[in-house]
């Protein structure tokens, strides 16, 4: 093949800026080869380099006494005692999922799973946070079906339970869906693996799938640019997943780790061989020499350029001492995986690549791995969404009807249609299945149980990115506390529009500040995460969506569950209800109003609420606990009535209505720092005392019993009817 000419124009077509091309040529003192240009382009892409976000991400709190591994490796890790650590991360796969929903979502799951077992941890649970446009948009149903099938198709096959997640519909995602995948694994702390290459002369091996022509430029062209009319044409940049192969890769990787055979392991995700080898060498402050003729290929005649930029899935890289190569090959053979030595580590901090005996790349590792962080301009949007007058919203006359309408609405109805397509049993460890506040999975061989949740209300973040991001962290923490778990750490997935627009950078900075403040208040450090920019089409960005994945450890012998347990139990509300409606699901669904400010944030009140609930749960005073969030008190109460698994009778409730505020604010307002609990009658006084001591407002709302959900003087609806409407709504919407 004739050597392709490289100049500024070619560099621009690759997506490099003029400054970046100038920096490349100046540093090496010559015109780069086409392979060098390709490698620099992907390494300096937003997706791989975090060039727009790095400066801001440094502001997040990343340290804590449990942190074993903070940001910088494939995933973060925290200690959970008994010599064990949990390893977890959330990551986006938004652009590919919009173009090709099944494969996009499937390979998103595959990618996050690899991040976890690359660290030597066995994945024990996954979750996914999915956001789609409104059902009025013609692509929404196609995307929902494809993405859900893709998440299930991959996760079910590989045998990691999908135990929870969230599903949100909003017109802001009409032309950019979000698919954020989370996985958590367990590893002996002392056996945590690193992606840092060590030891000059040590060998670099690949194992797993062969390298093909799929996914070339996924990281740079697809993930690091906004969408337009021609986005469909980028379909060839979406990879195709093979969960069976990944299952073999998982088992082989853990066997290699068990045998102490590898010095470093790195998965090949975005930018494939290029990114994995450059990053390993960079972390180890070494150089690397690769011989592409040794890479197992799917097809003949692949050029160096194609091999370097392929994003074929299910491939792993490792660094090992020469004497361990045979043992590694034996493990790979056992699992019917191909393996090959493709290079060695050097001491000159240069990245060298050969093809057909000829050197095609010779670039400084630091140049590739460490492009300058940008401080892009930011500016608050001129247009304000704060205008909101409560009086503009007429109070409903028929509250029963409003309750029925809300409970069948896209964001409040049951997610059963989704999670019954996911295997949430495999692993024999799930104690709280999807549908509760948080999922809980036990760590086999111990008494430990890990709780996890993903949350973000992007309606709040759109109205105020700082407050909204705070509230995402708050809600995640409350969800953990509701199952009896102490919040420990988070991983964040920051989904935003184009960083080249100052308003988007402003949203990003504000959201980072919100996460920073809330995480500091709860002592839940950020140990891993992912930034996804360019979630926009034709200049219109998504609502800023900093998805928070939070993990915690159970503080009770058995998890708490949200549903009411027995007739005659007393329903108590912990936390203060304010007369606030703006930003609520009720305002949006019933009144079509999405203006105003999100609910009031009080981090100290959140912290005290968490303490009271955990204290009461630890003393076995609570029969049920449920977080109040979207839909407010009325929706939470309805869920408490009917969330019990099939076979356990649903229970009604009789509720006294607070007459000091508008009834709709009391029923559907989304005041934060609140928790709905039910307790045995004899425990009411104790729980009240606990709350009073901690300075948490507490009110007895009513009793559990009967078959109706009754709000004194306002509404009375059959629980069976509500349940049926709630349970069947999503299926009707997605098939509608």
């Amino acid at each position: 093949m004739a050597q392709q000419h490289v100049d500024l124009q070619v560099a621009r077509e690759h997506g490099l800026t003029d400054d970046e091309y100038e920096r490349l040529t100046r540093t090496i003192g010559r015109t780069p080869t086409i392979e060098e240009l390709g490698v620099a382009t992907v390494m300096w892409s937003e997706h791989c380099s975090y060039k727009s976000s790095r400066f801001h991400l440094k502001k997040l709190p990343t340290e804590g006494k449990r942190v074993v591994q903070g940001p910088g490796e494939n995933a973060g890790a925290i200690s959970i005692g008994e010599g064990l650590a949990i390893v977890f991360k959330i990551e986006s796969h938004n652009h590919p999922s919009y173009i090709e929903p099944y494969q996009g979502a499937a390979t998103g799951v595959g990618g996050i799973l690899r991040d976890i077992f690359t660290m030597g941890a066995r994945p024990i649970a996954s979750m996914d946070s999915l956001r789609f446009g409104s059902f009025a948009h013609p692509r929404t149903r196609y995307l929902v079906h494809g993405v859900v099938a893709g998440v299930g198709g991959y996760g079910n096959s590989i045998g990691v339970p999908t135990v929870g997640g969230e599903l949100i519909f909003d017109p802001g995602y009409d032309r950019n869906c979000l698919v954020n995948a989370f996985t958590l694994g367990v590893v002996e702390e002392s056996r945590l693996m690193s992606a840092k290459a060590t030891g000059v002369g040590n060998l670099v091996m690949m194992f797993g799938s062969r390298t093909g022509r799929d996914g070339i430029h996924g990281a740079s062209l697809l993930a690091s640019a906004e969408f337009d009319d021609k986005s469909e044409e980028k379909r060839p940049t979406v990879q195709v997943g093979d969960p069976f192969l990944e299952k073999l890769l998982l088992e082989a990787t853990l066997e290699i780790q068990k045998g102490d055979l590898a010095l470093a392991v790195q998965d090949m995700g975005a930018a494939g061989i290029t990114s994995s080898t450059v990053e390993s060498a960079y972390r180890g402050e070494l150089g690397i020499e690769l011989d592409l003729d040794q890479v197992p290929l799917r097809e003949q005649g692949m050029s160096a350029y194609e091999i370097m930029l392929s994003e074929s899935q299910e491939r792993m890289l490792l660094v090992t001492k020469p004497e361990n190569v045979d043992a590694i090959r034996a493990v790979c053979d056992k699992w019917d995986l191909e393996s090959a030595v493709i290079g060695r580590l050097t001491d000159d901090r240069t990245y060298r690549v050969k093809r057909h005996g000829k050197e095609v790349i010779a670039l400084p590792v630091d140049l590739l791995a460490d492009p300058p962080a940008l401080q892009r301009p930011s500016a608050e949007p001129a247009e304000s969404t704060a205008e909101f007058r409560l009086d503009d919203l007429p109070e409903p006359r028929d509250y029963a009807q409003v309750l029925r309408q809300l409970i069948a609405s896209p964001n409040l109805c049951s997610r059963r249609w989704v999670y019954q397509q996911y295997d949430h049993y495999v692993g024999a460890a799930t104690t709280v299945h999807p549908g509760a506040d948080a999922a809980v999975v036990r760590v086999l061989g111990t008494d430990l149980q890990v709780a996890m949740t993903v949350d973000c209300n992007a309606r709040y973040t759109l109205l105020d990115p700082y407050l909204g991001a705070c509230l995402a962290v708050c809600e995640a923490a409350r969800n953990l506390v509701a199952v009896g778990a102490e919040p420990l750490a988070i991983s964040d997935c920051l989904n935003f529009g184009s960083p080249e627009r100052p308003e988007i950078m402003w949203q990003f900075e504000q959201a980072i500040a919100g996460i920073r403040d809330a995480c500091a208040a709860f002592e839940t450090p950020v140990v891993s995460g992912n930034v996804s920019f360019y979630n926009e089409t034709d200049g219109r960005g998504i609502p800023p969506t900093p998805t928070i994945a939070m993990v915690g450890l159970l503080r009770t012998p058995q998890p708490l569950t949200p549903w009411f347990k027995a007739e005659g139990d007393v329903i108590m509300l912990l936390g203060r209800t304010r007369e606030e409606i703006s930003g609520s699901e009720y305002a949006a669904v019933v009144h079509g109003n999405t203006q105003g400010l999100p609910p009031w944030v009080d981090l100290e009140a959140e912290r005290r609420l968490q303490q009271v609930v955990l204290e009461a749960a630890g003393r076995d005073l609570l029969r049920s606990a449920h977080d109040l969030s979207e839909g407010g008190l009325a929706i939470a109460l309805a869920e408490c009535c009917f969330l019990a698994p099939e076979g356990i009778p649903a229970l009604g409730a009789r509720i006294r209505v607070d007459e000091t505020m508008r009834a709709d604010a009391f029923l559907f307002g989304e005041s934060q720092a609140r928790m709905l609990v039910s307790v045995r009658r004899e425990h009411v006084a104790t729980v009240r005392d606990l709350a009073n001591e901690a300075g948490v407002a507490v009110a007895v709302l009513g009793d559990v019993g009967g078959g109706m959900l009754e709000f004194d003087g306002l509404a009375s609806v059959s629980v069976a009817e509500l349940r049926s409407v709630w349970d069947s709504a999503l299926e009707k919407l997605v098939n509608g």
């Binding site: 099938a149 069976f244 709280v432 076979g647």
Partner: protein, 255 residues
């Protein structure tokens, strides 16, 4: 007793099954590797759920050719017990060790949920810690669990008590008209069949996952003090049957 749990490439529930056998039941259980032909003297072989060989071509179609399957067929031919769960059931059908076949769910979607099962037959090694008509709750999770066989085979199996478990409503009832079974028959199986045994009564396959309905520590969250979990009864049935057989043969040899 000694159990063996098969690991094919792509098996997923092997770990969970071993956990239940070892730590809930307290028995010896070994892992059996698909490339080996050595059953290590186990008394019951369990083929677990998962996606053996990726379920490529057809569920269970490749697994049946693995070296271990030849040994399992020999074990079965000599009267040894074999339990196939989900993908294991599919493999046993593909291998001809059980009649019928499992095809795509009628809904065309993967389904993961707890289902009600009616105990249909109890004079066998697999389901005997129950009475006919008992209703069990055990989870299913599969995309291809719709059991089919020709009418004559179904009639014969019914007659000979080879259908051990059927999908049913929570109260144990079933629809007279199969068209109306959609509310409880999660995959569209003919005659609501959820688990079948071979004619020699030593090989049993079921789509629901007893290992995921067996551990009291997991059941207690929703069903405190509910007694022996239904899934555990399958493993206890097998263990009890083996123990009885051991006693019988000890008595025989004393005579």
């Amino acid at each position: 007793m000694k159990w063996g749990v098969v690991t094919f490439p792509g098996s997923n529930d092997d770990h969970g099954t071993l956990h239940v056998l070892r730590h809930v039941l307290g028995h010896e259980a070994v892992s059996l590797w698909h490339k080996s032909r050595d059953l290590q003297g186990v008394e019951c072989v369990v083929l677990p759920g998962g996606f053996s060989y990726g379920d490529y071509l057809r569920c269970g179609a490749i697994a049946r050719f693995s070296p271990l399957m030849a040994a399992i067929a020999d074990h079965a031919a000599q009267g040894g017990l074999v339990l196939g769960i989900c993908n294991g059931f599919q493999v046993l059908c593909e291998a001809g060790l059980l009649p019928g076949a499992l095809v795509r769910n009628r809904s065309l979607s993967f389904i993961c949920r707890e289902v009600s099962l009616r105990v249909e037959s109890v004079a066998n090694p697999f389901v005997n810690m129950a009475l006919v008509g008992d209703v069990w709750r055990i989870p299913v999770k599969h995309g291809e669990g719709c059991y089919i066989a020709d009418e004559a085979t179904l009639d014969q199996m019914e007659r000979d008590g080879q259908i051990l478990l059927r999908y049913c409503r929570a109260d144990g009832t079933r629809a007279r008209d199969p068209q109306e079974s959609g509310d409880y028959n999660c995959n569209g199986s003919l005659r609501d069949v959820a688990g079948v045994m071979n004619a020699t009564r030593n090989v049993f396959g079921m789509m629901p996952h007893p290992e995921h309905g067996a551990d009291p520590a997991l059941r207690d969250v929703c069903w405190p003090d509910a007694g022996v979990p239904d899934g555990l009864r399958i493993f206890q049935s097998i263990a009890g049957w083996i123990a009885d057989r051991g006693q019988r043969s000890a008595v025989d040899s004393m005579r």
